[in-house]
Subunit: 346 residues, 4 copies
């Protein structure tokens, strides 16, 4: 099959013919890729940042791609709930199903979890090997390429939003920092799940216009005066919830000031450090809550919201053969929404 | 002041001049009535049903009216959070604020609670005496007469809906039985608070048309085939939540069959009996959850949803002097939405 | 292997040699039985009550036994988390692991669940075929025969108790009706999990003495005056929680009167009917919550409590060959605690 | 009346005769002090640390003392739930009862809250003026001086412990850092409320001996190897919950490493800074939860646990006239448990 492989850090991917993956275990499934999202994390892998800074060594030459959707091609002997031909989106992690975390629905913390596209070959190829537990069937009329970006970007957003939405009532405020790839999905999820007043903060005026269309009740330009503007919108008290989809470029520094007494800061994006005297955390009784990508059931809900039209995605399609162009475009900030790679013939 | 008083059960109310209520305790407040909702419960009081069947004796001659909104006229010495002139809606119960139930936000179960319009003079008059804890300030632009019906009908609806909404996710189903006075508010609250799929059931085709406008995802005519129709809409499994705003005329009998395994039946309306073998409750692990009118904070949320335009009310205005006409119209089913009584000059 | 099989309803079981079960699917596991609990439900199966009243036809000749523990004998190709020789207790249901219920930790509502001992051959034999997902490993020093009764009786008790304990605080009251097979485990679980005051109700004075040893704060003899006695212990308000492990002989009739305003009745035992006017459910805002047997993780917790010595079981051991004696003893009320059947050589 | 007043920072308190406080508002209550706890915070006030570092200026000459219990002496016109002669413990904050925080049971975040002993005269005197909402009646047999320390130290401990206990199941682990004034109460509360395994960490071997008596399952000496020791006790995964009652001297630095994936760090003590890269918070999906002193209902629960004998306090009594001795003893580390000041004749 055709695949894009990384042969050395900081080099372009090579389009080449590689052996097809095979079913070897009872729960294995081969998925024919309909679309694979290109994520900024892929760029960081290519640059070698993860190898250098996080000790995550790719098994070169390596097929990246962790946001995958397509059609079931072949299933192992123990698989009964999906069949060849089914359209599916792949949860980002292959999980065991029998550890306590999997049992309680917290499968992202599976004791045996493996991420295709990071610790096993990914989806920048015609076929992907995954396990049956990762697969969420798509309803009729939902095309794999149209939802691939939900497998990671959307899933991370909904996971954090669900925690916040569960605590918010009408009249309470939620600040969303960063209405980009994750944030624009998070904003729509929040509006679908909660009556809270949403204040969208972003550095780009055109993004804030979109945010208003997606349902933001207030938009605030992050031009240096954003903390003051949010305080004004919240009567000087701050917001019950702040969800930070950025986590770098100073967002934590100003964002933590926007949390109302007894409120919560949801950390989604990363890069910066959280730094705060314990006395402030106690005196205001605030919390900082970390958020990983979502669970399998979070993905089911997100696909449901997508199917109902409550969440829409912005995507830009590239042929798999043009992956290096997509990478260059992403690196240069030329992509609107998410770049989706589609193998020929899909 | 002018007031409508019941002098004997099953007689028309008499419009007459009565002494004005006075502040006697530190937390007393006198409210000038802007609007008072007429409730079917008032009819039952007039007929003597509560006296006969529930042992609740009114202190005749008596001023009914438990759905009240207006403007603060006078406050006691201990009142600091409202001032004369403030527009307010009155929570249905005067509560003590110091019992455990009040302390935990469950003020409807106040150990000392007193309902104006039932155990103390009500709002079918120019002035109402209540206590300061009942008052929810109205934002600019919200007229007391426009929201009075939220004080009881709306408050009961949102209270039940909040319990259900807290458990429902996208793709799960909620059946609402009865889209009348309570149900039409409950439906709008559910859509504002949850991404669940709403199935509205009613006996009146024209009400179902309105239900669709208010956001119901499916409407089902209760013509005898409603249980079957709901089962079809839920793949034969039933719904995760059923909220019964009727509770009589056989709704519980068919409604309990519509609860999916591990689902919940929210009892709001009453009149019928719940009757089910324990083995069915266990085998399907279903619950029956009772719902009283809501808490003070539920009312705050409801007014917020109203102010944001997420909930709209149908009301029909009568002058207080015409209250017996309103009663006759309600009794005869001639009222669209809620009848609101407005004293002259308000 | 040796097994006890039912050949016809209402006849003694026959001890005979039958073919051994075999691994045929990747997730199959064969367990060598160390102990199998005898449950009143088994008697009901033998009598044909389930066939007659619930339409559950056994595939005669049939091996009963749904409370099983032992040692892993053989595993299928897909099984990695247990190995031959491991001591294990078997959750009562074989579940799929991929339906929404399994995914969210609510595996008792598995869309594909099968109960060995009811819908597949059970544990009154030397070997049992189950699937790998059912198995909870036992820590060193915990013998299968000593905990077998937790697989169903204990699991049902802890499941209901966990729901109640999650809502109870110090000073609140929980009434436990029936301190028998389930109740004596439930009582100990409640004391381990919650600071609530426990009021144990039973018809047998000697059981109440044991209840006090197991930690009951108050004991009440169900001699007709139990409702009054509980009201006295709860200042006339009733208890925040009532857990009914009996559900027949009139317990629901008096038990429902013991629920405090805004309290909950947990239905565990069955046989009687729940019957209550909706107005009482609403006016007091009480709930009736059904309880099935617990989840896999509930069983893990229960084994942990057992291992820590916080829960102790009363059991009486019989050789598998003597199963008809055990049945006769159970039927005649001659068994203290749970009868456990142990195959020769185990 | 006699009172101890601070006339200038860093000077001894002066014992002197001052005018008695008077009821001036409907909800005012005068309490005759039975015991007032001396807290390290009082020392910090005397030293001027709060004035200097937190901008909290005392209104000199000032009566400190925020841990108060005694008997009701006089009540305002609006007070009905307590009467002169009642034994009571005083919640640390005078709250309004009508703001949203008070309404939802989160009264520590009252919009109008005032702390006696900090922002109003405190309890190092014969009489204290507070408001009726602060008072928790004491059951017969519980002496004010015996429980005064619960008003702040105990209340803070139980508040944090309740949050953690609500998430912990049998087999999960909770690390408690610091088994001193707060920690020894927190430890007993945790054991009363949860079946979790408790690992107590302290720098003092003799304190760890007491910790074992109070129910700690494991004790770990904080001698530099504590992080390693806890990891060993948790199979290298860390604990589901870490409650840090110290928050300085480096506890946060090592404590944050002890939180298991998806676990929580409860911040109670303060002094140090929380500092952690966002990537670690996300990757492990951990949370930092701030904790203020508890609510009124937390105090009710704590007094209940005390009354039931589930929590015991260590106290050392001083006459109010000897307050400067008590301060010197506290400063020099010579006090076992909490110093309680008792006015003559109480």
């Amino acid at each position: 099959m055709r695949a894009a492989r990384l042969h050395a850090y900081d080099e372009p991917l090579r389009l080449e013919d590689v052996p097809e993956p095979r079913v070897t275990e009872p729960f294995d499934v081969i998925v024919r890729i309909g679309g694979a999202g290109l994520c900024r994390t892929d760029l960081h892998f290519i640059e070698g940042m993860w190898a250098e800074q996080a000790g995550v060594q790719l098994d070169l030459p390596f097929i990246l791609g962790h946001e995958n959707a397509g059609w079931v091609e072949e299933v192992g002997a123990g698989v009964e709930h999906v069949q060849p031909g089914d359209a599916v989106i792949c949860h980002v992690q292959m999980t065991c199903g029998v550890c306590p975390a999997c049992r309680r629905g917290d499968d992202m913390h599976c004791a045996q979890g493996v991420f295709p596209g990071i610790a096993a070959p990914g989806g920048f190829a015609e076929l992907l090997k995954t396990n049956a537990r990762t697969l969420v069937p798509l309803p009729d009329g939902v095309e794999p390429a149209d939802v691939a970006a939900h497998a990671d970007a959307g899933l991370t957003a909904i996971h954090a939003v669900k925690k916040a939405a569960a605590t918010l009532t009408a009249g309470q405020r939620c600040v969303l920092i960063g209405i980009g790839g994750l944030g624009h999905i998070g904003l729509q999820c929040m509006k679908a799940m909660s009556p809270a007043t949403v204040i969208a903060v972003d550095t780009r005026p055109e993004t804030l216009e979109l945010a208003a269309e997606w349902g933001a009740d207030h938009t605030v330009l992050a031009d240096g005066g954003q903390a003051e503007a949010v305080q004004e919108l919240t009567d000087g008290h701050g917001a019950e919830a702040v969800i930070d989809f950025v986590g770098e470029f100073g967002t934590i520094e100003y964002g933590k000031q926007l949390v109302r007494r007894h409120g919560t800061y949801y950390v989604v994006g990363y890069g910066d450090e959280i730094r705060i005297p314990a006395i402030q955390v106690i005196f205001n009784e605030i919390s900082f809550v970390g958020n990983l990508v979502g669970t399998y059931l979070d993905l089911v809900e997100l696909i449901e919201l997508h199917t109902q039209g409550k969440v829409t995605l912005r995507t830009q399609t590239y042929s798999l053969e043009a992956i290096n162009d997509a990478i260059a475009d992403l690196d240069a900030g030329r992509i609107q929404g998410r770049a989706i790679l589609v193998p020929e013939g899909s």
